[in-house]
Amino acid sequence: MRIFKIIPVLALILFTSSNNADAQCKAFARKVCLPELGAFTHDGNYHAAVLVEGEEAELYKTFYSDMDYKVAICGEEKLPDIEFTVLDASKNVLYSNKDANYAKTWEFRLESSQQLKLLIKVNSFNKPGDAPSSGCVSIMFGFKINK
C-alpha cells in the first residue's frame, strides 16, 4: 500500500521539474533566441523543448511568398552544436547549417509559398561513459514584408 503514497509524491516531483524545465526554456527563448531575430518581427509563436544529445525534433510550417523570413535555432551553452536542415515537400535539402559552421540563423525568401520541414538535431559530444547533456532548444521565426 506504501506504493500508493509514494506514487503521488513522485508524480508531483516529476510534474514540478517538468514545469521548471519549461519555464527555464521560455526564459532562454526570450533572452537568448529572440535577439537573434534582429530587425525581423517575431511572429509570436513559441516553439521550445528540452532535448538530449543526439535527439531530433521536426517542425512543419508554411512560408509565404513576398515575405522575408529569418529562423533562429538556439541551444543552451551546455549542449553541443545544433544542426538544422530545411527540406521541401519532396524531401530535397534546401539548406543545412552544417555547411555554415552551425550558424544559429538563416535568412530566406520564397518565390512561391511552400510548406517546409525543419529537422533539428542536437549533435553528440561523443564522450563514452559521460551522462548525455540535455538543455533547451528554441526555434523562432521572424518576418518582414519583402519590398
Binding site: I3, I7, L10, A11, L14, F15, S18, N19, D22, A23, K26, A29, R30, T41, H42, D43, G44, N45, Y46, H47, A48, A49, L51, E55, E56, A57, E58, L59, Y60, K61, T62, Y64, D66, M67, D68, L87, D88, A89, S90, K91, N92, L94, Y95, W106, E107, F108, R109, L110, E111, S112, S113, Q114, Q115, K117, L119, I139, F141, F143, I145
Partner: protein, 292 residues
C-alpha cells in the same frame, strides 16, 4: 508505474504524431506525414501562421481595413467557457494585429483589452498586464513597438498554456487566430476583382496549412472541445481539397547582395469562383459559432 506516468507526462508535452510512410508526389502532399521519417523525432512542432503573420499577409496584398469585419469587443462578456475564451483570444489577437498594422489607434487599445479579458479568464497570469497596456498607450503611434507588444503577449499566452499542461487550449488559441485571418481575407474579396487578386492567392495558400492545423488538433484528440473543432476543420478541408496547388522543384539560390537564400520555384494554382464562394460561406458559418 512511475515510469508509465512519466511517459504520459512527456507524451502530453510533445503533442506529437507518429511518423507514417506515404508516397510523396511532386505536387504539394496532402499530409505532412508524406515527409518520410527514417527515425521518429522526439518532438514534432506543427506551426500555424500566428495572428500577427496572418494580418501581415492580408496587409501585404494591399487590402483595405474594414472595422466591421472584426469581432465586436462587446461580445467579450459573453465568453465564459475555456473553449470560447481560447478561441476568442486567438480571434481578438488577430483583430488586434489587423488594427495595429493599419494604425487604428483606438481599436488597438480596445482589442488589447478584449484579448486581456480572454487571457485573464483562462488564468494566463501576466500575459497582458497593466504595464503592457500602459506601454501600448505610450507607444500608440509607433507601429514597430505595437507589433513587438502583440508578438510578446501572444507568446506569453501560448507558452503559458503549453507549460501548464493545457496544449489543447494553446491549439485552440492558434486555431482562433488562423480562422479569423481566413475569415477577414475571404470577406475582403470583391467578386468583381476575383481574377488576379493577390488576396485570393493568400487564401489559396492557406491550403498549405490546413494539414498542419489538423495534426495540431489530432495531437489533443479526446478533448471534447478539440473533437468538435476537428469536425469543423475537416468540413473546411473538404473544400480546400477542391483547390489545386502544383509546385515545381525548389532551387535554392544565394543572393549575396541581401545575404538571403532565395527559394526559387513556380506554382500553379486553381480555385474557381464557385469553390471560393463555398469556402467563404463555410468559413463565415463556422466563425459565427466561435464568436456567438
Amino acid at each position: 508505474m512511475v515510469l508509465l506516468f512519466a511517459g504520459l507526462l512527456t507524451g502530453c508535452k510533445s503533442g506529437g504524431k507518429k511518423a507514417v510512410n506515404e508516397e510523396v508526389t511532386m505536387a504539394f502532399p496532402k499530409d505532412t506525414a508524406a515527409f518520410e521519417n527514417i527515425k521518429k523525432a522526439e518532438k514534432i512542432f506543427n506551426a500555424l501562421p500566428s495572428p500577427l503573420e496572418s494580418a501581415m499577409l492580408i496587409k501585404s496584398t494591399g487590402a483595405k481595413f474594414d472595422k466591421t469585419l472584426l469581432n465586436p469587443i462587446t461580445n467579450a462578456n459573453s465568453y465564459v467557457t475555456n473553449k470560447s475564451m481560447a478561441l476568442n483570444l486567438g480571434i481578438y489577437t488577430c483583430d488586434l494585429s489587423f488594427a495595429s498594422l493599419y494604425e487604428q489607434t483606438q481599436l488597438i487599445i480596445d482589442y488589447m483589452n478584449a484579448a486581456k479579458k480572454m487571457a485573464d479568464g483562462l488564468g494566463i497570469l501576466k500575459a497582458i498586464d497593466q504595464p503592457t497596456i500602459d506601454k501600448l498607450e505610450e507607444n500608440i503611434n509607433n507601429s514597430q513597438v505595437i507589433m513587438d507588444i502583440v508578438s510578446e503577449t501572444f507568446m506569453n499566452s501560448n507558452s503559458y498554456l503549453e507549460e501548464n499542461g493545457q496544449p489543447a487550449m494553446a491549439t485552440i488559441v492558434l486555431l482562433g487566430g488562423w480562422f479569423e485571418g481566413l475569415y477577414i481575407s475571404t470577406q475582403l474579396i470583391d467578386m468583381k476583382d476575383f481574377n488576379g487578386n493577390k488576396l485570393v492567392g493568400r487564401i489559396i495558400d492557406q491550403k498549405l496549412s490546413i494539414d498542419i492545423l489538423l495534426n495540431l488538433l489530432e495531437s489533443s484528440k479526446g478533448d471534447t472541445s478539440v473533437d468538435e473543432l476537428i469536425i469543423q476543420v475537416k468540413r473546411l478541408n473538404l473544400i480546400f481539397d477542391k483547390i489545386s496547388i502544383s509546385t515545381s522543384k525548389v532551387r535554392p539560390e544565394y543572393d549575396t547582395k541581401s545575404n538571403t537564400t532565395v527559394l526559387k520555384s513556380q506554382v500553379k494554382t486553381n480555385m474557381t469562383p464557385e469553390v471560393f464562394k463555398e469556402l467563404a460561406s463555410t468559413v463565415a458559418e463556422i466563425r459565427s459559432t466561435f464568436i456567438k
